[in-house]
Subunit: 693 residues, 2 copies
């Protein structure tokens, strides 16, 4: 999930005062709708469009889910449009001290120059199958960890039954309405995804972190990928038509993509724990790591290069959490949420039949939060965030856990460890990705220091983990000593038994082995005291909502395909009106020459050729969130007119509620992409494929 949310931090507070309620039928242009419950009539009535099932099917079949982002097919030969910031990780991994594709861009003159992105997948949704009864049935009569295990096992079973070929299929059971409904989403999957085009970082990410979430905005946040099979581009007759013309103010816009996560259906007690515990700890730890990465970047040009993408990701996350916290500490916003909850509870209480069926899941969740407050820090430090971002640690943990589960009979394995799933893990591990030892040591040191700080030095797990050594020394020993940077070694170790791993002598493997029981224990506690009862209560609340408000509701985002609708429209805040468009000429006016406000070299070199009146970025009222990055923005005719890449400042509270007057999606227009391909990056091959002269 990485639709970037930049935060103009001074302006929080009142930004989210007016919000409508996800718990009641949606108003304005609110909603991240599933394709099987899209409000066709509402949209056609409001915007005079002629959306029908065929329109929806074509859009759905053109929508692509890629790692953490969204995308779309835009030619018959497997060409995929997404954001630059969704392919920059690939560009970074393909780069070296000699070739910096992040800084200089990645341009291809022929198909042969297109390069495979390590670990990149592309998934196109083919089927949606309701599996609510099977999932709910699996947990019947069970509690805590047993409940979580039974649910997980059933989920994995459904997935395995429906996807027998994990190399070309993905099956995923997805929860909707926080447990109100479960559906199997089945995808056609492609594992050979190649980078076709990425502009220079200064073109795509002009303004850097300071401009992130700013609008007016001047960013060519676009990139192209292509799916291959058997070494050839995949034929994709169903795709979106490229419209190189910018929309006009008021034009209807649709966004098809995978919003990552919203929390609009959480109860007050859940929101309060986010506000008081999860978000503060996350912001504080992220900030310290941010300082480390910033300082590390000053030590050499190479350090600066390798830090680029990790730092971008970290700063992006920081803003998301900071923005969430702004909403959660806004008394008006929280007052409104409180009112909504009170209304639902009152309506449940008013109907004896419903009340008897629902019970008091709000009270249950309050009790869960008390347990969660106690367990959160050990769960976070020892399990959920263990390794602090180190790839080498992650490899070791994957290998150790696979070995342990493989040693068990199938029926006793934890969910997600079927043979098919293990084979998939093996393929992932074999991918070649560069490792920066300096960065790895920073991640591990930071994580161990924070674990000691937050769990205290006298905590038994901390003592076992650190022994008599300093965290930085341990990190150094592990990173310098492990052989897991080599994909061949990883493949070899993935096949080992726990005993063989213990005898391997690899220090990172030994470290993970030594601490894994404690980590699994805290995960089991969390499942038992938090995940299990939360799932049960969430289902009850979803049923309460269906009973009171009917089923014409959209669910919270779960990184599954959604469609949102809206229109090109600016906004007015505290008397200042922000128009919906920027133009390419504006980039040259905003550029100062100093990072991150230096214009990209190709933009400078070709300034005289650029049509400065071209619409660059634009905003619309669509309701989206992180994970929607790269989503095609589509007009009434179903043509693609841009790639969504950000939200405006006011959409920060979008995790918890949508405000139609202020929340905006930020999109880079196909008009600007076309202009850049033609007059800045000179890509006639791509233009021809897109059907543009």
């Amino acid at each position: 999930m990485s639709l970037r949310f930049t935060v103009s931090l001074a302006a929080l507070g009142a930004a989210t005062a007016v919000l409508s309620a996800a718990s009641t039928p949606a108003k304005a242009d609110e909603g991240m709708w599933t394709f099987d419950n899209f409000p066709i009539q509402t949209v056609n009535d409001k915007y005079g469009t002629h959306i029908d099932q065929a329109w929806l099917d074509r859009v759905r079949n053109s929508a692509v889910r890629i790692n953490g982002c969204s995308a779309s097919l835009v030619s018959g030969e497997g060409l995929i449009l997404t954001n630059w910031h969704c392919v920059v990780g690939c560009a970074q991994e393909l780069s070296s001290a000699e070739h910096d594709y992040v800084k200089n861009g990645f341009l291809t003159a022929t198909r042969e120059e297109e390069k495979e992105c390590p670990g990149q997948t592309a998934e196109i949704l083919t089927d949606i199958i309701d599996v609510t009864d099977r999932v709910l049935g699996a947990g019947q009569g069970l509690e805590g960890a047993a409940f979580v295990q039974a649910r997980g096992a059933e989920t994995t079973k459904i997935e395995d039954e429906n996807c027998t070929d994990k190399e070309t299929q993905t099956c995923q059971v997805i929860s909707f309405y926080r447990g109100g409904r479960y559906a199997l989403y089945k995808f056609r999957k492609y594992e050979d995804v190649r980078l076709v085009f990425a502009p220079e970082n200064q073109a795509a990410f002009f303004g850097g972190d300071p401009d992130n979430f700013n609008f007016p905005r001047y960013a060519l946040d676009t990139g192209f990928l292509r799916i291959y099979e058997d070494g050839k581009p995949v034929a994709t007759p169903t795709h979106l038509t490229w419209n190189p013309n910018a929309p006009k103010e008021g034009d209807v816009t649709f966004v098809a993509g995978n919003p990552g996560s919203t929390s609009r259906l959480l109860t007050m007690s859940q929101l309060e724990r986010l506000r008081d515990q999860v978000n503060p700890i996350t912001l504080i730890q992220a900030s310290e790591l941010r300082g480390r990465l910033q300082e590390y970047a000053t030590t050499s040009e190479e350090a600066k290069r390798v830090v680029f993408d990790p730092l971008f990701g970290l700063e992006n996350s920081f803003k998301v959490y900071y923005g969430q916290e702004g909403a959660l500490t806004d008394p008006d916003f929280m007052g409104k949420k409180r009112e909504q909850e009170a209304e639902l509870r009152a309506r449940v209480a008013a109907d004896p039949a419903i009340a008897a069926r629902i019970g008091d899941p709000w009270g249950d969740l309050e009790k869960v939060q008390a347990s969660a407050r106690d367990l959160y820090l050990p769960y976070r430090q020892l399990e959920a965030s263990a390794g602090g971002g180190s790839d080498l640690y992650r490899y070791a943990k994957t290998i150790v856990r696979a070995a342990k589960e493989r040693a068990k009979p199938l029926a006793e394995r934890r969910a997600g460890y079927t043979d098919a799933a293990l084979a998939q893990q093996a393929r992932r591990l074999a991918e070649v990705t560069p490792i920066d030892q300096g960065l790895e040591e920073i991640y591990l040191t930071h994580w161990m220091l924070k674990t000691r700080e937050y769990l205290t030095v006298d905590n038994a797990e901390v003592k076992a983990m650190l022994g008599k050594d300093a965290p930085a020394d341990i990190a150094d020993r592990l990173v310098q000593g492990t052989k897991l940077g080599d994909p061949a070694v990883r493949a070899q170790m993935f096949a080992m038994t726990p005993e063989q791993l213990a005898a391997s002598g690899d220090p990172m493997i030994a470290f993970v082995l030594a601490n894994d029981n404690a980590a699994q224990a805290v995960r089991a506690q969390w499942d038992s005291a938090v995940n299990g009862p939360t799932a049960k209560a969430g289902e009850k609340i979803a049923q309460a909502r269906f009973a009171v408000y009917g089923t014409n509701l959209y669910p919270d985002a779960t990184f599954s395909l959604r469609l949102s609708y809206g229109a090109v429209e600016g906004w007015t805040y505290r008397g200042v009106t922000v128009p919906p468009f920027t133009y390419m000429g504006g980039l040259y006016e905003r550029a100062t020459g100093a990072e991150p406000f230096n214009a990209a070299q190709a933009f400078l070199d070709n300034e005289s050729k650029v049509n400065k009146d071209t619409v660059y970025d634009f905003v619309s009222t669509n309701d989206i969130i992180g994970g929607n990055s790269g989503s095609p923005v589509i007009n009434a005719k179903g043509e693609v007119i841009g790639a969504a890449f950000d939200g405006n400042i006011h959409s920060l509270g979008g995790s918890f509620g949508y405000d139609g007057a202020l929340n905006r999606t930020v999109t880079v227009s196909t008009a600007a992409i076309t202009e850049a391909l033609r007059n800045i990056y000179h890509q006639p091959r791509l233009l021809a494929e897109l059907g543009v002269r």
Copy 2:
């Protein structure tokens, strides 16, 4: 203020549930009492002591205030006992790449080896004069900025009238009860303060940041200074007698020192703004800077050396704020505060005469918080925290503001800029302190980056400050170009007019000059919209408290001399009982050999000589807070038995309330100091002076 509060972060939450109310007469051992309102009878009744005015006078005359800390006279020749962490700044400033007195300790064999601490003062309170009527009278009929200016001018006038010789006298008008009372505190001041003894950092700060606020604790957090005049030690016939024996469990203990700041009398709306805005921003920014300093420390041995004290200070502050936030997000704690406020308001409302006199200051403060929320970020970034900790920036700001005020007639100058005060500033500027350019650039870069981030890149003041340059480039240009690292240059520039400064060509001076109007404007806004109305409302609330509860109350801490009482006592939390003492042998058991748990070299070298049964550190129920560091801990006879240096984990919420069952003061015993001077550091000269064989 730097009594260190370490936080065992996992254990917050319930830690502060039981608190008594500063707004009602104090119970248990609560209270940071002024010397003119000490509850003699209560203490004598409870502890069977014979405290009388003579006892109080002798303690008061032996108490010393030093920069940000507390201390006491312990010999007739000006010898001062305080904490190591109160003299480590001096040790750091006296150090160089060749002589590292922080790491190796600072030991003296003769008086001649005692070295003057740059900028160090020592102040002994001589008079307390009530000036409430004068101060309150000065603001009569005025509002906002005019009110603040009139109050400030009267305060400065009182101070100047009473202290004509600023080299040997300090006069300070101090607010008590948040404006309920004002008193002039007059001190005998010494400006030649020399370092006599500091142990190795690993002896004093064993366990480092992880153990900070931990107990059981094994830290020799002690240091000695000496006051000089005319090149000779000052004769100090009044001083505390050194008792080299540890107290027993249950023994009464007094702590005389300068608690820096508490917020026990703040209203709910004030606490909520702290919780939602001030503390989060502070924690987040501090964490990022912390990450930078940690990473900078890894770049070289010299960088590690210079970062030591700044990083210690930063981590200490982080814990204080984090601990505060733990209390402010604890629903039980805040519920109790809310009840207390409701009770006071109800009792005011119940008496028409009082109600008419008091009005609704709680409502007024609610409105003030709305303004403060809007103004806080610009005020913080452009004025209150401007420069981000850079000494060179601070010098430039001092010089520029002095020049501007000096150019005005006396009556129009801002408070604090009388000729006497300016002369004092000049003396401070002339002190020689080392400057690390790398550290200076980190501070400035971090500050400018955060200013741009929080005020946004399009803010007019940010644009004016940065122009077309990147923050890191500006920082580099300022630090490399300025001559203000040279005390002679500072002295010369301090005498210049604004015009001469503008013509000087110094880039740091030019930078401050260019941005100073904006900074002063935001300060004026803050004074007018926040400080002024807060002072007025605070006075009303103090009067309400006096009217309802009488005057047998202690005021919030304001870094003025206070006396607290209590007893040596451990505590029990969640079924675990922590005994009140540690012993020197425990240090050797806790030591791992890895930083920060490596024992000091002198401790290792002399292990066989040390009496391991010596009481090392102990806890007592005294109510103290940051600023109390170095305070003498005194027995019933008035003898010194230790130096307070920390609070336990539960005292974290002490800013807002005291819990007698859990809050503890942590003290290094005179028994341990004596043992260390004798058998580890071999200081017969000091032992003889302390009257110990």
